[in-house]
């Protein structure tokens, strides 16, 4: 691979080097969380985590494990803030064609605090170097969502939720999620200009892989916050929906890339204040 012609000496200065034969394995996942311009990049020996937040009420995280990369070398844990839109534009700099067999190779390098993120992208013998400025990372919100507090959990095949999410009445300000050990089990509701709509998933549905609901809970979330999660849903094959005792929502998406490797995207969302049904 042409990118490996860089000298060993150069590599020594980098705190992080991550290489992918197909940049799409990174860009596709990042598209699932691009609803804001800026993202917080965190890297540990386990892999990369990219975080995007909205109005302190919503957080989306994309996890790309070290195993996904053909090369992953890290000297210390690091974090920076970067313009996600610019990063995606660079990853797709060769136009993102879907001709089989042709892919963009990526080598991502970071020298440390204050340095830009350097991307070496290669397709069909043409190499492009991009340097994207980094900023001081903000502290990501800790939603304090822990498994012990989870009251209700379901795992669904994404296929069935995709239809519902694409049909959601966007004139509704809220998306209401009801989870219950009894009817209607798992319900998505909207309250729009022309009336309300309910999507009910039975616990016996063959789309329902796991159903663990301990008590009836109904929570409302701002539609505008959750709508971006539709992108993650579209990429995923399974989704886990969990609510905790406070009504905080966790959506976890299992995304499989072209090579069959698995990545995760998760969304956390705060509920709206009132909990009573209309």
């Amino acid at each position: 691979m042409p990118l490996s012609t860089q000298s060993q000496a150069d590599d020594e200065q980098y705190v992080l080097i991550a290489s992918l034969d197909n940049a799409r394995h990174l860009s596709n996942i990042l598209k699932a969380i691009t609803f804001k311009d800026h993202a917080i990049f965190t890297a540990t020996p386990n892999g990369l985590k990219v975080t995007v937040e909205d109005s302190k009420c919503l957080q989306a995280n994309a996890f790309i494990q070290a195993e996904i990369f053909q090369e992953y070398t890290i000297k210390e844990d690091l974090g920076f803030q970067i313009n996600l839109t610019v990063l995606l534009d660079c990853l797709n700099i060769f136009g993102g064609s879907t001709v089989p067999g042709v892919s963009t190779a990526l080598r991502m390098c970071y020298r440390g605090y204050g340095y830009p993120l350097t991307l070496f992208l290669e397709e069909a013998g043409v190499v492009t170097v991009c340097k994207i400025n980094t900023q001081e990372p903000d502290e990501p919100i800790d939603f304090e969502f822990c498994s012990n507090n989870v009251t209700n959990k379901v795992i669904l095949q994404s296929e069935s939720l995709k239809d519902a999410f694409s049909e959601l009445d966007m004139t509704s300000e809220v998306l209401q999620i009801t989870m219950s050990p009894s009817q209607p089990y798992f319900r998505l509701s909207t309250f729009g200009n022309s009336g309300n709509a309910h999507y009910d998933y039975s616990k016996d549905s063959d789309m329902m892989e796991l159903f663990r609901c301990t008590k009836t809970q109904t929570n409302k979330y701002k539609m505008s916050l959750l709508k971006p999660s539709t992108k993650a849903l579209a990429l995923s094959c399974k989704v886990s929906v969990r609510t905790d005792s406070r009504g905080f929502l966790s959506l976890q998406y299992l995304v499989r890339n072209d090579d069959g490797q698995i990545c995760f995207v998760e969304y956390y969302c705060c509920p709206n204040e009132e909990v009573e049904e209309d």
């Binding site: 049909e167 200009n193 022309s194 009336g195 709509a197 309910h198 998933y201 039975s202 549905s205 789309m207």
Partner: protein
């Protein structure tokens, strides 16, 4: 009211709704003894469409016996229920339509595969009756063709084209784009297709003439006809009277009634086969309160029906059709006066530069119960509406 649609019929119902959305913004729903009627009309009242689904279309059909129920709702809301036609076909097993009169809600429940239930509770408004009256079987020119023929014909016209002109002779039908009178004739592109009578399943012409009507509304019907594969029938008499396009099968009937431009001298062909002599239509001066002459011209599009009151006679002067008296009394009269409100919407002021002069359609405010509403004209009926109700209809 509780109706259940199963299997492939759900998609047919959805297609009908999408088709109606090409006409107007509101969907009028009326469950009747003879089936569920879904109707729509455009704001200028120059296009009307009605789909009647017979009880056999449904796997269950029960309507309130004791009272007539009518409502209207934004057609976009109903389209949202049937949003993705492709997934409808694959996933929806049945659709329940239930009325909750206490809460003023019409509920559509889609039972889908994988035990997924989609429930839409749509709010509606009470509505006046919406009914265009026409007698298609007595029209001079009647045609029937497979939808493919018409689809292949309209595909040649750009989607921006507003109106088409259809001209007929004994053996041929010409379809061409209509160019505005004011537009520069030499610059406009003219597209004309000629269809031979043997391309049609039925081709019968009594009047050689041409009519011009809105293409967008025709496309609305073709969307439905093509997906269901039902032949499309076309009925018209002459320019100025509406053209009726319909699709029928054993369990449903769809009728699109479109106004046509009143006669354009440059297009008029001789009525060599005209069986009746018509008085020339009056100038389209609808600002004139005296509607006698208008009614005389309209008279030709309505044939005597089986009603008890008998056909109207052309000189309607004796029914003193002044606007005020038309609505205040309970006298038996024809329904056409109700059209007054719609007429005022027309831009027929002769002081303006020549522009389109669409005849509006007829709407009865009151319908006789359980009649063959779609095809038989209502010749006489009690006018029970007051002025204020007319205004509502004109909006």
């Amino acid at each position: 009211m509780h109706c259940v649609v199963t299997g492939g019929n759900v998609k047919v119902l959805a297609k009908a709704v999408h088709s109606l959305s090409r006409i107007g913004d509101d969907l009028y729903v009326e469950p009747q003894e003879d089936g569920l009627a879904l109707r729509s009309v455009n704001s200028s009242r120059s296009a009307y469409a009605c789909f009647l689904f017979a009880p056999l279309f449904f796997s269950r059909y029960s309507v309130p016996n004791d009272h007539t129920f009518r409502c209207k709702m934004a057609i976009k809301s109903v389209q949202a229920v049937f949003r993705s036609l492709a997934t409808l076909e694959k996933t929806v097993e049945k659709c329940h339509i239930e009325l909750d009169e206490q809460k003023d809600r019409l509920t559509f429940t889609l039972h889908c595969k994988h035990s997924l239930l989609k429930t839409h509770n749509l709010s509606f408004q009470d509505s006046e009756s919406l009914q265009a009256v026409f007698d298609k079987d007595s029209c001079a020119n009647i045609f029937r063709a497979q939808p493919r023929l018409l689809v292949d014909t309209v595909v040649h016209f750009p989607s921006s084209l507003e109106e088409v002109t259809v001209s007929v002779s004994d053996e041929r039908m010409w379809v061409r784009n209509h160019v505005e009178e004011g537009a520069e004739q030499s610059r406009a592109m003219l597209t004309e297709l000629c269809l031979a009578s043997d391309e049609f399943d039925h081709f019968s012409v009594k009047n050689h003439n041409s009519i011009t009507f809105c293409l967008k509304e025709l496309r609305g019907l073709l969307v439905f006809a093509e997906s269901t594969g039902l032949p499309v029938s076309m009925y018209f008499d002459e320019p100025g009277s509406p053209v009726v396009l319909s699709v029928t099968d054993s369990v449903l009937e769809g009728n699109f009634v479109l106004a046509t431009l009143s006669e354009d001298p440059s297009l008029r062909k001789n009525n060599s086969k005209g069986a009746h002599t018509l008085p020339p239509p009056p100038p389209d001066d609808f600002m004139n309160d005296d509607i006698d002459s208008y009614l005389i011209a309209m008279d030709t599009s309505v044939a005597p029906g089986p009603s008890t009151a008998g056909p109207p006679t052309p000189p309607l002067a004796d029914s003193t059709c002044s606007k005020q008296s038309a609505v205040a009394t309970h006298r038996t009269r024809t329904h056409r006066e109700e059209d007054e409100e719609a007429e005022e919407d027309e831009t027929d002021d002769s002081d303006r530069p020549p522009n389109k002069k669409f005849r509006s359609l007829f709407f009865g405010l009151v319908l006789p119960p359980s009649s063959q509403i779609s095809t038989q004209p209502v010749m006489s009926q009690e006018v029970l509406a007051s002025d204020s109700e007319n205004e509502t209809q004109a909006e």
